[in-house]
Symmetry: C2
Subunit: 383 residues, 2 copies
């Protein structure tokens, strides 16, 4: 029997409370650090630009020499320097006159517009000064950020390690994908692939162990054989029936916090910890496993990885009513069509085609009993 | 001078019109095909499940033997088979009675509830039948989709090739990142890194050539040396001044469709084609280059890669007014803070810190002159 039976929101809070942002860091080449998160404030060692720079193609001049210049009364300068955008404006000059306002007449420059001091000059340090904090700790590095670090001659950057996720598929009926033809009663182990690909999308390093039979001793061994895991995901073996091995193992060698969640689909879910490391037990039915991955594993991994966990959502009008069970949080798959969300009302957590035909899902909170046709809902798009 | 001067929306339409979805395909292992796009309809060779399967832990029975069974008047069966979830229900049976409704009494099963035919049985083909179209051509493969293909014993999948993008940085002042300390007037070539990382995020294979000096002959050579490119991005050398090499080269050896766009920042932009392949010339200023990448390169690459190009957006209230130039499409960088969007009103397309401090940007359409403080706008989040 389920030892605990938690509301989905409570279960998530319990899990998140047990998952700490990793403190482990690593140093990477800046060009390899896309989507990684800074583990320290980063300050600039240099100024950017590192010199007074022409912001236009034109001529470097002394601004005082341009006083009063206008088309009807141009000034004629013999102290000037032709420059192209980006070139250094030497100290002897303090402005750049653009091509449209200047005309070379032999050795003399005719200018027809005044230029105030530093006109068309990007000044040394205008963008960044030495000591400026460029990124705070906890900043996800995006392509322009890596460009900035490169411009500042910061070639290596310290970032948080990605969480190591170890996925343990359990079940005597499972066969590795494509390993051999199935006999009746067997199934390919596909949930591990799905969990691994999502964990990687969500900022983790993920690896899968061999399939573990329904055996408490072997499940315990598989958990203990992976002490470097920041999170362990056990798939299968969480139903209330005979196969309820993984939660029993957790209770025995660690702690079992949550066992059974009011989530539809995804009820046979358990959370615990072994040696302080979170262990998540997912149901073996793929639709239920996916529901748990999105609702629990995603925010947990994002937290451990110091990443924002907001979901990609689009608003859409419901084409039909969505019923749901009161007291249960429900994830209802929907297909988007002409701006409307069409619920895919196939029940059965084993019907994977209800996912592959869906563009995303609608979350029905525990306190509601569904949504009416025509209501505007937020659709979470499958990543 | 700019030969053409296009509105941003028109320029995008012209570019998209010249970019065709790639017809080139490749075959990948299913597990490696995440985020790739199917190039054919995929039909199932098998049924799923491939046999009648127990949907519950319990006992396989003949439904007719359960007729009338209730707690006060149980039926006693001697023809039954204990099964666990997922196991085959042999042909001799047509229903599964769950544990709660059954009690083993020696060799006899006492059951206390009727089971109609196929109760608690996932029937052969209930999820997928042989010949079912699982994915239409043009479907982006997500982790559960790869799980489905694996379940259907489809181990290789044919997908569209990723577009090959070749990035040619131009400019005599540029130095490879970290290659050596800069002299005054020099800058590290950082736009190529930014363009490469974004092109990869957006579904392309991207590579950068060596930095090409400001020389028409060498730029022409660099373009012609990459005949396998599906798109060429030339960075720098698109200002109206002396350095306007790339567009001249395009006009000479191919076609120049757009030269100058009413986009802020990002005006000195050019689009053309050489031997039918699109060539995009981006300004050398990083903020302007980024603006062009998002507005033009992203939808063009997504189209070539058969991917949806919708932008990740969140609504936010403007903390301050955004002014913009009428007739120009503007990308205004904003930082999100407490649900409000704070515009970063630093002008200067060279000020990269205006990007690195931003969470995203607001698009001001050409026909507007900005947004008022307090208006709700859509913020496009930097990927």
């Amino acid at each position: 029997m389920f030892k605990r039976f938690s509301g989905a929101r409570d279960a998530l809070a319990i899990l998140l409370d047990r998952c700490r942002p990793l403190s482990r860091t690593e140093k990477l080449d800046t060009a390899e650090a896309a989507d990684r998160v800074t583990s320290f404030d980063i300050t600039s060692p240099v100024s950017l630009p590192g010199f007074d720079r022409a912001a236009m193609d034109g001529f470097a001049v002394r601004s005082r020499d341009t006083k009063g210049a206008r088309p009807s009364a141009p000034n004629f300068l013999d102290n000037f320097l032709p420059l192209r955008t980006g070139m250094e404006v030497p100290k002897a000059y303090d402005a750049v006159v653009m091509l449209e306002d200047a005309q070379l007449r032999g050795d003399v420059l005719e200018i027809t517009a005044e230029a105030h001091a530093y006109k068309n000059v990007s000044r040394n340090g205008e963008d960044v000064l030495p000591g400026d904090v460029i990124f705070r700790q906890g900043h996800r590095l995006r392509p322009p950020d890596l460009a900035m670090l490169s411009a500042l001659e910061i070639s290596r950057v310290e970032v948080y390690a990605r969480p190591n996720v170890v996925i343990i598929p359990t079940g005597g009926e499972l066969v590795d994908i494509g390993a051999r033809p199935l006999k009746p009663g067997e199934a390919y182990e596909i949930n591990g692939l799905m969990a691994r690909l999502y964990a990687e999308k969500w900022g983790a390093n993920a690896r899968k162990t061999k399939i573990v039979p329904d055996d408490e001793g072997l499940i315990r061994e598989a958990i203990l054989a992976n002490p470097d895991a920041d999170m362990i995901i056990i798939i299968g073996g969480t139903s209330v029936g005979e196969k309820d091995y993984a939660p029993r193992v957790l209770a025995e060698i660690g702690e079992l916090y949550v066992h059974g969640v009011r989530l539809q689909p995804g009820k046979p879910t358990a959370f615990g910890a072994v040696a302080g490391r979170p262990v998540v037990c997912l149901p073996g039915y793929p639709v239920a496993a996916l529901s748990d991955l999105y609702l629990f594993v995603r925010p947990a991994l994002k937290k451990m990885a110091h990443l924002d966990d907001s979901l990609p959502r689009v608003p859409a009008k419901l084409a039909r009513k969505i019923p749901s069970k009161a007291g249960y949080l429900s994830l209802v798959r929907v297909a988007l069509k002409d701006g409307e969300a069409e619920p895919i009302m196939i029940s059965g957590a084993g019907i994977l085609s209800s996912v592959t035909r869906a563009d995303g899902f609608v979350i029905v909170p525990e306190e509601l009993e569904g949504f009416e046709a025509g209501e505007t809902v937020e659709v979470v798009l499958f990543e």
